[in-house]
């Protein structure tokens, strides 16, 4: 599985952790934030991180999925953000 990705950008130290949320997690997140999908920040399907994630999972990430990104933060140690996958 690892070999199928020639260069895994997700492993680069500058690239934060990307995770695909499951249906239940999506419901939980949207409920907790009290938002609808359209109010979330976006990430394009063509984003290198999404494409690599798709290859690593060997399944496609459909539009409307939500990605959790956990990145290092200068202010808080760790910042969690959610992004909605859109076409493009």
């Amino acid at each position: 599985m690892e070999e199928s990705v020639p260069f895994n950008v997700l492993k680069h130290k500058m690239v934060p952790v990307h995770e695909l949320l499951s249906e239940e997690e999506v419901d939980e997140v949207l409920k907790r934030l009290k938002v609808t999908r359209d109010q979330l920040p976006k990430i394009k399907e063509g984003d290198a991180a999404i494409k690599t994630l798709e290859k690593a999972m060997s399944s496609s990430i459909p539009e409307k999925s939500i990605i959790r990104i956990i990145r290092d933060s200068q202010t808080a140690e760790e910042a969690v953000v959610y992004r909605l996958v859109i076409r493009g």
Binding site: Q39, L40, P41, K64, A79, V80, V81, R87
Partner: protein, 933 residues
């Protein structure tokens, strides 16, 4: 008075005007190009027809029956003889023509494709795409269709498609055989054929805008109130540019109609048609590229519709974003240390013009009557507010004059509004441009004073970035109770002592105040009773502290005097500005008196200088503002100001050129040092010439020489400064200012007393000017120190002509840099603000825009308000430990020397900015001879 929002704007929809709508909203049809008849009255069906509203007093509008100022004006219309393309829509028209079939008007895409595109639009809408993204997508759709049309026949009627191009600005061509020209009429016919259902995937709502409406058959004529004519002193009428343009349109329209109806040759009709197109185009936009702008008789280009809206002087930026306001004042500012930081001194002249509306109630009616009785210009030594206007129940304004004051006062009833003069304690907003951060506009309390300038406390200079070399500031008087309440709670100066820029105090003591507290507290200062009373009398009712008695004499130490203004339970420990940064800190045993220790509100040791009370750095100030709140901090600052002024007045303080005097022996030493460095540089040059110079890694031989020479010369300057510095002790006034952080730096002093040093352009020694040399005073190819811009002299000893020239070169670079940097950072700031202006921190901690989309899931990722932070960190853990565990245990735990890693907005970084700013100001003064502002 109406309060609150009764109607909220849900959305705004833009649509095109259909010819029917234009005619429907038209008050009259305009036919003749003439405006006024011989008697000077507007002609019917002319451009000044009174159906379109009135601009002259005495006339009545024929549409609504109102007079000037009551009639809002009404649109008319012109029926165009032939259709004409609207320049504003050429891009849309081009897109539509290229994407649709030339015979049946359908979108050149298969049913399935269209379905797919519409589905995609639905998904995008669901996922919250904004208008820009949607437009971008419909552009893609149109592009796909036009590409398909290039290759294939129409999938619906099988018609072959041709390439359509646009000849800027308004001519369309179809490449059937060598570019057939499409007339606006043909264009309009094609657009008419496009079915409603095919418009939606192209991003057009057919209910709001049918594409054929983009080709005009009727032209709306704006009301005369939009294009008023002006009567000159000579009695001649001068018409507005828009009217001139409409006259042109009408004239050509008339000729075109006559020629067409008379069956004139096709060529003539086409020429006139094109002329009409030109006039209508320039009527909309007189800067359309590809056609000459229409000009006035004098040769000045006409200002038509687009020109009225566009750019810095346009309606949006100048009149809507940049509205001018009433109840404001502007004048020069000057300092007044006896004012509180919360106050602003307003001259009587201004106070008598600026007014506050007061509603009459049964409780204040008598006071207000007395006020009105005084009239608009009460006399007397003491300032008492009068009244300029009284507003009655029917909202009629009555001007109060000396003559009618008494009668107006008699007639005052409950619920009248009285516009009284400004008086002490009123809340006003005070502002200095450029308004770069929120502290550029703060609320102050008025204090009416004689004179003609606004007065402010010196501690508020840093947030406004104000000085008193001619700076002017603006003042706005708040007119509603809500505004005053908001200003009071949110905008008062004392609420802004801590800055959100770096979580430290931005308001604090400057210049003489720092010198003052330095003189008061440094070392073992003693004041006798008279001096002590003089100092303490400056600050309200302070009790005389317990005197120290030595040898039967009562005296007070400077430290005990300073302690009187500290809160009673105040503890703090830090190193002051004069700290020598010894390798091993002696702490309590510091021989420079630089270790500040305050226990239970008593200054036990240390010197109070910039690190204690200064703006940006003040530790004591920071801690008081944080732990005791804004009121306490304001009191402290007001007291510090007065205490410092008192102290500096008792001691006396002055600096002059002789402060930079150094003994002849020191001068000789500096000379020797510089000369020996010159010789070393000469040796370097020699070794470079004969090739014995060791090349540095990664550098060419020339670069090696330059770097080495720069380093050596830099050392020489530092050494000169050090020698000079040895003779400039802390008893020297200039050194006191530099070391305590009041003004200037030791570098400035060493440049005055010792040696100015190497001048540089782009970080390199000076090299340009003549062929292979900087000036003709030197030999070609001379690489020595003095030939390449080293200034051996000091500002005090004076520069030689060549040195002066080099110094100017270095100075010029600084000036250019500042000019470039300010303009560029200004533009950057403008773009940043435009992008961020309507983001808002919501109750749940998220940052959202106006569409309620999330921008940040947690404000700043950590949810910390930087104003309340400690230099950007959420909490100061050392301070907390000390408070909880007590001093001794906490000392064991804390490691103050441990430097923080990273840190995005450290105080140091911000300080670097301010210091370099100050340095520049200093440099500028050399060249502009003081300069303005």
């Amino acid at each position: 008075m109406m309060r609150g929002v009764s109607k909220r704007i849900g959305s705004i929809k833009f649509a095109c005007l259909s010819p029917e709508e234009i005619r429907h909203m038209s008050a009259t049809k305009i036919i003749t190009a003439d405006t006024y008849n011989d008697d000077g009255f507007p002609i019917d069906a002319g451009l000044m027809d009174t159906h379109l509203g009135v601009i002259e007093p005495g006339l009545m509008c024929k549409t609504c029956g109102h007079k000037v100022d009551e009639c809002p004006g009404h649109f008319g219309h012109i029926d165009l003889a032939m259709p004409v393309i609207h320049v504003g829509y050429v891009k849309e028209i081009k897109k539509l023509l290229q994407a649709t079939c030339r015979s049946c008007g359908r979108l050149v895409l298969t049913e399935e494709d269209v379905k797919e595109y519409r589905h995609r639009m639905d998904v995008m809408e669901e996922l919250g795409s904004d208008a820009v993204e949607m437009r971008e997508f419909s552009k893609e759709t149109a592009k796909a269709a036009s590409e398909k049309a290039q290759k294939e026949v129409c999938p619906y009627c099988g018609e072959k498609q041709y390439k359509i191009t646009l000849d800027k600005p308004t001519t369309f061509r179809e490449f059937r055989e060598e570019g057939h020209k499409l007339t606006p009429k043909e264009v309009r016919e094609r657009l008419e054929r496009i079915p409603d259902s095919d418009l939606i995937p192209l991003g057009i709502d057919p209910r709001a805008c049918r594409p054929e409406w983009m080709v005009l058959t009727a032209l709306p004529v704006p009301p005369v109130t939009v294009r008023p004519s002006i009567t000159l002193e000579s009695g001649d009428r001068s018409e507005d540019d828009l009217t001139h343009k409409l006259v042109d349109v009408l004239r050509i329209n008339q000729r075109l109609r006559e020629n067409r109806d008379a069956g004139a040759p096709q060529l003539i009709v086409e020429d006139l048609w094109e002329l009409l197109q030109y006039h209508v185009t320039t009527y909309f936009d007189n800067q359309t590229s590809g056609i000459p702008p229409a000009r006035h008789r004098s040769g000045r280009p006409l200002k038509t519709l687009v020109q009225r809206l566009k750019g810095k002087e346009g309606r949006f930026r100048s009149n809507l974003s940049g509205k001018r306001v009433n109840f404001s004042a502007r004048t020069v500012v000057s300092p007044d240390p006896w004012l509180s930081i919360n106050q602003v001194g307003v001259p009587v002249y201004a106070a008598r013009e600026l007014t506050v509306p007061v509603v009459v109630t049964k409780d204040n009616i008598e006071t207000l009557k007395a006020m009105v009785m005084r009239g608009p210009a009460p006399e007397g030594e003491e300032y008492r507010p009068g009244v300029n206007y009284v507003i009655r129940h029917d909202s009629r304004r009555i001007r109060v004059t000396d003559r009618n004051a008494e009668t107006v006062a008699e007639g005052i009833e409950i619920n009248y509004v009285v516009e009284r003069h400004l008086m002490d304690g009123d809340v006003v907003l005070f502002n200095r441009q450029p308004s770069l951060h929120r502290m550029s506009m703060m609320a102050h309390m008025v204090k009416v004073m004689p004179g003609k300038t606004f007065r402010l406390n010196l501690c508020v200079c840093p947030p406004y970035n104000a000085d008193f070399d001619g700076d002017e500031m603006n003042l706005h008087v708040l007119q509603s109770e809500e505004a005053r309440a908001e200003a009071h709670i949110l905008m008062k100066v004392q609420e802004h002592i801590l800055s959100p820029r770096f979580g430290g105090p931005i308001i604090g003591a400057i210049h003489d105040h720092i010198t003052g507290t330095f003189l008061l507290t440094h070392g073992d200062t003693r004041f006798d009773k008279a001096q002590t009373l003089f100092i303490l009398s400056k600050m309200g009712n302070n009790e005389l502290p317990e005197p120290t008695v030595i040898g039967g004499m009562e005296y007070w130490t400077g430290k005990s005097l300073f302690s009187t203004i500290l809160p009673k339970d105040f503890d703090v420990t830090f190193k002051s500005s004069i700290c020598q940064k010894c390798p091993k800190c002696e702490k309590e045993g510091c021989k420079y008196d630089a270790y500040v220790k305050v226990r239970e509100g008593r200054l036990l040791m240390g010197t109070i200088d910039e690190k204690a009370i200064g703006s940006f750095k003040g530790k004591i100030l920071d801690k008081i503002a944080r732990d005791y709140g804004a009121d306490m901090a304001r009191e402290f600052l007001d007291d510090v100001t007065r205490l410092a002024i008192g102290a500096i007045m008792v001691r006396g303080f002055s600096t002059g050129i002789d402060d930079e005097d150094i003994p002849d022996e020191a001068k000789r030493q500096i000379e020797d040092k510089i000369d020996s460095t010159f010789r070393e540089v000469d040796q370097l040059v020699a070794s470079y010439r004969d090739g014995t110079l060791d090349q540095m890694p990664g550098r060419s031989l020339e670069e090696t020489l330059e770097v080495e020479a720069m380093r050596k010369l830099g050392e020489a300057r530092d050494e000169a400064g050090r020698i000079a510095g040895k003779h400039l002790g802390l008893e020297n006034a200039a050194v006191q200012m530099a070391k305590s952080g009041a003004r200037g730096s030791m570098l400035n002093l060493s440049q005055m007393a010792g040696c100015i040093g190497q001048q540089a352009v782009r970080g390199e020694r000076l090299s340009r000017g003549y062929w292979n040399r900087t000036l003709p005073h030197f030999k070609k190819g001379d690489l020595g120190a003095q030939a390449k811009g080293f200034v051996k002299n000091s500002y005090k000893s004076g520069l030689t002509p060549t040195e002066f020239f080099f110094h100017s070169m270095g100075g010029r670079e600084g000036l250019v840099d500042t000019a470039v940097r300010t303009s560029r950072s200004g533009y950057m700031q403008r773009r940043l603000i435009n992008a961020l202006e309507d983001l808002k921190l919501k109750q749940d901690g998220t940052v959202r825009n106006t569409a309620d989309n999330i921008i940040q899931f947690e404000y700043g990722e950590d949810g910390i308000d930087p104003t309340r932070s400690v230099q950007g960190e959420a909490i100061d853990i050392d301070d907390v430990l000390r408070e909880v565990l007590g001093e001794h245990k906490a000392d064991l735990l804390t490691r103050p020397d441990e430097s923080k890693i990273g840190g995005y907005a450290t105080l140091e970084k911000d300080l670097m900015e301010t210091i370099s700013d100050e340095e520049e100001e200093y440099e500028d003064a050399d060249f502009e001879g003081g300069g303005e502002d």
